[in-house]
Amino acid sequence: MTFTAVTLKLLEGFETTFLIFIITLVAAIPLGLIISFGSMSRFRPLSWLTRTLVWIIRGTPLMLQVIIVFYGPGLIWDNVRGLTRMSSVLVAFIINYAAYFSEIFRGGIEGIPRGQYEAGQVLGMTKRQIFFRIILLQVIKRIVPPMSNEIITLVKDTSLARVIAVREIIMEAESFISTYALIWPLFYSGAFFLIFCGVLTILFQFIEQRLSYFRV
C-alpha cells in the first residue's frame, strides 16, 4: 500500500466526515436557537418539556442515540423501513448538537443585562429592533468562545458514525488493519482531524478578533 493510495482512501472517508460535520452544523444552529427559545419560554409546560428533552439528550451518549435512531423505528413498528445509515447519523447528530447549542444560546441571551433592553425600550424601539440592533451582536460576541469549543468537539465526534457502519475516515483507516495488517493509516487519519481543527481554530480566532472592538 503506497502512501498516496492510503491518502486517497482516507480522503474518501474524510468527505463523509466533512459532510456529517457541515450538515450537522448548519442544521443544529437554527434548531438550537428554537430550542433555546423553548427553554426560556415563560409558558411553564413548554420550558419544562424543552429542558427535560435537553437533559435526556445531553445525559445519554451520542453513540447510543445514533443506534436508537437507526434501529429504533424498525424495532417498534413492523413495516417501517427506517432511515438510511447516513440519515440516521445526521438526525442523531443534529438533535444532539442542537441541544448543546441551545444551552450556549440560552446562556448568551440570558447573560445580557436587562439595562440593555430597557435602554432600547425607553428610546421607543420595538422588540424586534432591540433584538436585532442591540442584543444580537452582544450575544454573538459572548457565544463565540463556547461555540468554537463545541464545534471543534463535533469534528471529532463524527467518528462515532462508524458504530452503524457509516464509512467516515476512522472506519476507512481501520479497514487497513483487517485487510492489509497496517495500523499506520489509522494513526495518519489523526492528521486529517488535526489540520481541520487547526483551520477552524484560525477561523474562530479571526471572528473573535473582528468582534474585539467592543466589550460586553
Partner: protein, 263 residues
Amino acid sequence: MSVLEVSNLQKSFGSTDVLKNINFSLERGEILSIIGSSGSGKTTLLRCLNFLETPDEGIISCNGDILFDSSNPKTLTETEIRKNRLHFGLVFQSFNLFPQYTAMKNVMLAKELLAKGRPDYKSNKKAILTEIENEAKALLAQVGLSDKLSNYPHELSGGQQQRVAIARALALNPEILCFDEPTSALDPELTGEVLKVIKQLADRHTTMIIVTHEMQFAREVSTKVLFMDDGYVVEYDTPEEVFGNPKEERTIRFLERYSNGLE
C-alpha cells in the same frame, strides 16, 4: 396645563406595596428632585413614568393627554406604550450605553430607527441622516464630548459614558427628562462633570425629574422637591421649604440622618 400629572398611582410587587397613592403634577420647565432612603419607591416611580413597570392603579397624563389609565385597557397595548415612552427620556444609574456602537451612534440610533417610519424617508434619506448626524454632534458638544464622537463606551470614563447617555436621551426631544440616580455609580471625582451637565440643562429650563442622593445638588438645582418614604409622598414643596422648613416628622428625621452622614 401641567406637563405631567400623576394621580393615585399604585404599584406592588407580590405582597409588597411599593407605591401607595402617589399624586403630583409638574409644570413645563420645572425641575423636580425626588429624594428619600433606599427602598422608598423613588426608582419604581420613575420606572412607572417611563413604562418600564406597569402601575397597578392610577392615571398618568402628559399635557392633558392620558398616557396611562389602569381602568382603560386601550392605554396598555405594546404600540401605545412605545409611543408614550417618547414623552419621557431616561438616564440610568448604570448608563446602559450600547457597547457595540460609538458615542455618536449611541446618540443617533433611536432617531435613525424612528426616521425609517417617516413617509418621506426613502426620497429624502440622505438629508434626514445628515440632519440626525448634525444634531447628534451638537448634543455631544453640549455635554462636552466633541472629541469622543468615535469612541466606544469601554474607552470612556464613567462620567463620560453618563454624559453620552444624557445626549442619547436628549436626542429624541423628550418633554420630560428623567434621571435615576445619575451619579450613584460614579467615582466621587466624576460626579461633578455629570452634575454640571444637568445644571446646564436646568439653566435652559429643561423639564426634569431627578432621583438623587445628592442633597446639596437637589437643593441648588430643583424648583420642586418630593420626599418619599415607604411608598408615600410625604412632602412635596419648593426646595427652600423641604430642606429649610420641613413640616413632616419623617422628612426631618431623614434630613437629619443625611446631614449626619448616615444615608
